[in-house]
Symmetry: C2
Subunit: 368 residues, 2 copies
């Protein structure tokens, strides 16, 4: 090809970049929360669990460190995980699809259902990755504003969407949409699927599993990152009709979940006592944090997740986040076209004390 300037390295490199699909070049990409890992840093910005995974996870991982497990390909469909999850949730093993984090599952669903130029819808403010998934796919992202009390507008304005994501509980608000509204939405969208992104459902009073049998187009995604303290090992799963799972398997990478992640996920799921203890502690701290933030003058949205969303009407919150970061406390400042606030993950009791002390000092300093 005459026009390709091999002799000029920089121009040649620039030419290669032009071979990318144009919408990939023009899209922004998802920016994950900051990972600052110094010893003194208190990370309340990415909704990690402050407590360790179950002791059973460590025991299972130690036992899994054998030559044969590491050198051989892992079970492609996660047979053991499926069996354990099926028993726990009262479903067939064939209803489960394993994923390299629930982001992997959201990607698989997008590729399976959304054609380029198609429509992917989700209520907003919500998980910003949904837009990125539409961008990568060359699809149109349709953000649907929540009502002021974080419920769905009715009638739903995008009944023709190829795929609809509903994070329940939602991030950043921590709020939930009630079962009746989910049912109406699923019926409106059918036969197109409604994906209930339940990354935070383990911290809520209820979840969408009770709706699963009645709504064939409901797909539920879960994550082991938050409630099972396993963000580092990347494991999530989707729940859907076996007929659908079989098709989604074609879209996933053959070996998308490695053997150690599968081992950790199984062990974590099997220790429900530990899970319930951690869950109870986080919910108790969430209550205490919400009350304390309210006393400090924040408007705190009642949360069903492992974080709280808080705002102020008396002053901008971004400088507060910046000052916290200067003190090695990371919270997530989020801004949705001018609607902004702080999303603060639930830490341990001691971490929550440290956060509250810092906030008190910052607010006192600013007002003095």
């Amino acid at each position: 090809m005459e026009s390709f300037p091999v002799s000029d390295p920089s121009a040649a490199t620039a030419a290669v970049v032009t071979a990318l699909r144009p919408h990939i070049r023009s899209m922004k990409g998802y920016i994950p929360g900051e990972q600052r890992n110094a010893p003194d840093v208190l990370k309340l910005n990415t909704n990690e669990n402050p407590y360790p995974p179950s002791p059973r996870v460590f025991a299972a991982l130690r036992e899994a460190l054998t030559a044969d497990r590491l050198r051989k390909y892992p079970p492609p469909l996660g047979d053991e995980f499926r069996r354990v999850a099926a028993r726990l949730y009262g479903l067939e093993p064939e209803c489960f699809l394993i994923g390299n984090g629930s982001d992997d599952l959201l990607t698989i669903l997008t590729r399976a259902f959304v054609p380029p130029g198609g429509y992917l819808a989700a209520p907003m403010p919500g998980y910003l990755l949904y837009r990125t998934l539409a961008d990568i796919q060359g699809a149109v992202f349709v953000p649907v504003p929540f009502t002021p009390d974080w419920q769905l507008p009715e009638p739903w304005p995008v009944p023709q969407a190829h795929l609809t994501f509903l994070a329940n509980p939602n991030s950043p608000s921590g709020t939930m949409v009630a079962p009746a509204a989910i049912r109406r939405l699923a019926e409106t969208l059918a036969p197109a699927p409604l994906v209930l992104d339940e990354a935070y459902a383990d911290f809520a009073d209820w979840n969408g599993l009770s709706l699963f049998h009645q709504l064939p187009n409901l797909i539920i995604t879960r994550s082991m990152s938050k409630s099972y303290s396993l963000a580092g090992i990347r494991f999530g799963f989707a729940i859907a009709r076996p007929e659908l799972i079989r098709e989604l398997v074609k879209v996933k990478d053959s070996y998308n979940c490695d053997i150690l992640s599968q081992t950790a996920a199984v062990a974590a799921l099997e220790d429900q006592d530990y899970f319930q203890q951690v869950r109870a502690r986080i919910c108790a701290t969430r209550q205490r944090l919400a009350e304390a933030l309210t006393r400090l003058g924040f408007q705190v949205t009642p949360s069903q997740a492992n974080f709280v969303w808080c705002r102020r009407s008396d002053r901008p919150v971004r400088p507060i986040a910046d000052e916290l970061a200067r003190r090695n406390i990371l919270v997530r400042y989020m801004n949705y076209d001018g609607y902004d606030g702080l999303r603060i993950s639930i830490g341990t009791e001691a971490e929550t004390d440290r956060l509250l002390d810092a906030l008190q000092s910052i607010l006192a300093g600013c007002s003095s």
Copy 2:
């Protein structure tokens, strides 16, 4: 939606499946090699490494089993891996993209470069996943027949492809295309990329890294599954210009490689002495196996990978594979539109003896 038969579960489920993109429903999906994991089974069908990973991998993994590593998100770009790989290969860290196995990288490249309806080309017989990647993307897969001696036809018939994969060494043949032909192909395709899939390059006499500086549209992918005995932990990487890596990062999942995989990959790469020992053993056994198979009447293609491709003109090979499987020895029977053969992974010396004994007995039995 009136037409959606919520009252009839099976019909409703069928309706949901119709919401999938039509080409997903009609495609076949990639079938990975059989994973039969009974104790007595000799797996020579998926090119796993018969030797354990480096002792350093086990030590590093044991040390990585801390609460903080498991409960926190991993470094999204694999900073430590990039540093170690950059030192080893004499490139900048920004030239490396980490992947959840090299399949993850092939998927990312396909999504970044190939529009639906676009062209993805690769010489065949080759890695069957390339066709699946095109299928998922709704693109056209263009198989280009190798010449009878496993070289590229010239001129290359698909200069306009959006993406071209060249497995080098190739599977199932284990053969390589020479540097001059790679250079000509890359220049023909430019500015569109040529992806050199080097999953097996560590077993070859040379690799494409020496071409990297001269060919800006060359992208190299590597796997830790075979040469580093880490198929179970899923880790691969791509090497490309930093300008391109930055764009590909947008397409990958934020946290596509978990912390334990990153840890294992770093430790394995750092133990080059062990790697060279394993490599030398496998290459020696490959030589012995090829000679023995030839004596048994197979036509063996000279291999630069950790497997050999062998055929017979005197009898069909499929029954031989079936009889081996009955004796708990798995090899991969592959059939490309009538051109068929056995792809046999290189095992240990003892495993190779067991295979050869079984083959001798089978061939004797059949002819008696």
